[in-house]
């Protein structure tokens, strides 16, 4: 467990104990008090610079994963896309940002195609391995690369933390959603954060 995640744990514990009573409006896991989302600047899947703080004014779902991931990453993106659909017109201010944990394979083009299968407005982010490691550290994301078959080293998995952060319009971390949260709960929380 790295230091980034350790820094978040007391906040999460606080959220689970105190937050449940005082902030009943979010269902997916609450940051209390909210804290500023660490800013970063990476290469976007549209090939331009992607700076998190430029998304102030929108509610951002920030997730980590990779295009070759068959189950958990696509399921997460699928749930986020369905939640966005549920929001209807209000969903235009909901932005999904997906940071790769596999920069070797995930070019901007590959990320763009991968994400577009779920929603063409979702943006991906990649960068130099060191830059991506810094972002993961800031958000407490762990990864572990595994090559299942020695005979075929080009096939490998990048196991990774699968939670998704919700960031409010002011750029503050508000929720840390574990994998498997229902579409209804995601939509509920995004809607709550979108409300003025």
């Amino acid at each position: 467990m790295n230091r980034g995640l350790l820094a978040f744990l007391p906040l999460l514990v606080l959220a689970l104990t105190a937050g449940a009573a005082e902030t009943p409006d979010l269902r997916t896991g609450v940051f209390k008090p909210p804290r500023p989302a660490p800013d970063f600047s990476l290469r976007g899947s549209d090939d331009s610079e992607l700076k998190l703080s430029r998304y102030r004014g929108k509610v951002v779902a920030l997730g980590f994963g990779y295009a070759s991931c068959p189950d958990v990453c696509p399921a997460t993106l699928f749930f986020l896309a369905q939640a966005k659909e549920k929001l209807g017109a209000a969903g235009k201010d909901f932005q999904v940002i997906y940071v790769t944990v596999d920069p070797e394979r995930d070019t901007p083009e590959r990320l763009r195609k991968f994400l577009a299968a779920y929603d063409p407005t979702f943006v991906g982010a990649t960068g130099a391995p060191g830059q991506l490691a810094d972002v993961r550290k800031a958000y407490g994301i762990q990864i572990s690369t595994q090559v299942p078959s020695e005979g075929n080293p080009s096939v490998y998995y990048v196991h990774h933390s699968s939670f998704v952060y919700l960031i409010d319009r002011g750029g503050n971390l508000r929720a840390m959603m574990p994998f498997g949260v229902s579409v209804d709960d995601i939509a509920h929380d995004v809607k709550a954060l979108l409300s003025p």
């Binding site: 467990m1 995640l5 295009a67 070759s68 991931c69 068959p70 189950d71 958990v72 696509p74 399921a75 699928f78 070797e104 394979r105 995930d106 070019t107 083009e109 590959r110 195609k113 991968f114 577009a116 299968a117 779920y118 762990q142 990864i143 572990s144 299942p148 080009s154 096939v155 998995y157 196991h159 990774h160 933390s161 699968s162 994998f179 498997g180």
Partner: protein, 153 residues
């Protein structure tokens, strides 16, 4: 000529009827219910080594019989290879591992779902577009090959 065709038709009806009766008997074989796949894009790009992306198929395996069976393999027209995989959590991370066999005990169901067991489609040969289907053949130890059509969502 017509009488000949009629005889052939009746013969086929008898074959079909006996097959269906057999299927509902005590030695009924494993069946695959509610198969679906998640939409996914075939990824072609600058680096062929990166592969063309993957997909996942989920279903409920139902064994109404009195003998245990097991899913031991899969293939699909939409991917270069198909494998049985399991996603699981460890130390806060989502992990994935290939599974050699997925047991379906007698009289039980095994549900494959996101974050759990799935058929991983490796190196897609085409896009998996929502509203269309993907065809697979699942290989069971006792039931043999079972053709499956999975709806893409």
């Amino acid at each position: 000529m017509i009488a000949g065709r009629l005889r052939v038709s009746i013969l086929w009806m008898l074959v079909a009827a006996s097959a269906s009766a057999f299927g509902q008997g005590s030695d009924a074989k494993v069946r695959v219910d509610g198969a679906w796949a998640r939409r996914a894009a075939m990824l072609t790009g600058v680096d062929a080594k990166a592969g063309s992306g993957s997909g996942a198929v989920y279903a409920t395996l139902v064994n109404p019989g009195k003998e245990s069976d097991a899913l031991v393999g899969a293939e699909s027209e939409a991917a270069a290879a198909a494998e049985i995989h399991e996603s699981y959590q460890e130390s806060g991370m989502m992990m994935m591992r290939p599974v050699q066999r997925l047991d379906v005990p007698a009289g039980k169901k095994v549900e494959m779902k996101p974050g759990g067991y799935h058929i991983m489609l490796l190196n897609l040969k085409r896009d998996l577009t929502a509203g269309t289907v993907v065809k697979l053949t699942l290989q069971f130890q006792n039931a043999g090959k079972v053709p499956v059509i999975a709806e893409i969502k």
